[in-house]
Symmetry: C2
Subunit: 229 residues, 2 copies
DNA sequence: CGAGCGTTTGAGACAATTCAAGAGATGTGG
DNA sequence: CCACATCTCTTGAATTGTCTCAAACGCTCG
């Protein structure tokens, strides 16, 4: 986990992570924020549940999962995070992280100190709007697993969600590499590992997807959308 | 659906809905916001899915549910809302409501025009903080149904969530009236109506709760918490 | 008092889980 | 660079929790 100084105004992900259309004055203000970069190896924690909240994190590269541990000791996956997405917003309220974030692969994040951010949002209206909007996006129902839906439905949703989010980041909408294991998908979707595996083979037999280990190809997007119900 | 002019500085719910500790100057600024009250009968819509987003709503009295309709026509309940809680935050991002909000009983809300709110947050730091905090709270994992959990677990969670939220509002933590039907609970928790009913009778037989129709009494809070696992 | 809706209870069906085993990758050390 | 250990993924068979279908009960309100 190493660190570098960064300036958002020169970042290639800025159009995703902070798409603001700032005036020169505002840009100057933004670059007073002390943004650092930190690098992570697979399975390294970004923050841990119950730690005091200080920073938000924007993903530069790689991916993360957030997890909670139930009192009975099993791990529940709360979400997956891709480049350009922010982690830690849930902790503003309690001033403590309520889950643990772990790197799914070699990854890098920008560290955004929360107090510096709120100072900036106070004088940059479009930045305030952006934070509101980003938090609002996460409140939308399609961001959560519908407990009424079938296993097939949940997996279709996850694949399409990943597809859309990769597309926004300039990757292929139809072909990508899953950075999480079957078990992690299961613990996110509320399904047994075996069920995830079975559904994947089913979808492949129906020629809706092709899948070899973690490489997926969405062959028939229309049928996949139909499965979402 | 009738309307009245309101001033937050004289509202009895202000300590819940906008607990800000404002300076006199800030209070003056806040009271320039044109807050109206609207009243609702059971099952009246507050907003509908796909309508353009203009207002946030704070509940003064009564309760609401938010629902989405799946393409196959069935209703999924996304959440329940009690006095002091805000509705519509999810719509900031798309500038459109993504669900329909319906009154569960006779209810009243404060209408908060979003543009006026963001103007106010820009000059009242504690108000900005409050909005961030409120949105952040909704991102916490205990706000969502864990698709991994058993029917018993889900119902225990819902009961305890309602209990806590009623407590904050000065009602009894142990005894309250459910404003939603078994069916609505089921559609929220991802369970059949019959399952909800069965679990309630089970919990009553174990002397963990007492329940008669919609009147609940949480007899053994500890055991109920254990069930949350 | 009867109509209608919400709730409860029972029995059979089914989707997903658990348990069990094997196949296929990936990594390590000699 | 191969051999072995380990991890992940797949497949099968039995089990189980929840759902669906069906019917009866009990409020509530006209």
């Amino acid at each position: 986990m190493s660190e570098y100084k960064l300036d958002c105004s020169h970042c290639s992900l800025a159009s995703l992570c902070m798409p603001l259309g700032l005036t020169p004055d505002e840009l100057k203000l933004l670059s007073t924020m002390a943004i650092e970069q930190r690098n992570f190896k697979p399975n390294e924690p970004l923050f841990r549940s119950e730690q005091p909240f200080t920073n938000l994190y924007a993903i530069r590269s790689g991916s993360f999962k957030t997890v909670t541990i139930t009192p009975s000791g099993s791990e529940h996956v709360v979400g997956f995070y891709l480049p350009g997405e922010w982690l830690g917003l849930h902790a503003i309220h309690r001033q403590r992280y309520a889950m643990t974030a772990l790197a799914l692969e070699t990854s890098a994040v920008c560290v955004i100190p929360y107090t510096e951010l709120t100072t900036a949002t106070q004088s940059i209206p479009s930045l305030q709007q952006y934070v509101f909007s980003m938090m609002s996006e996460k409140l939308n129902p399609d961001r959560y697993v519908d407990p009424n839906s079938s296993a097939e439905n949940r997996i279709a949703r996850l694949l399409l969600s990943l597809s859309q989010r990769y597309t926004r980041r300039g990757y292929s909408a139809r072909e990508f590499r899953l950075s999480m294991s079957r078990e992690e998908m299961g613990r996110y979707l509320g399904l047994a590992t075996e069920t995830v595996s079975r559904i994947f083979t089913q979808l492949a037999q129906q020629n809706i997807i092709e899948i070899q280990r973690r490489e997926v190809k969405l062959v028939d997007l229309e049928q996949l959308e139909d499965l979402m119900g």
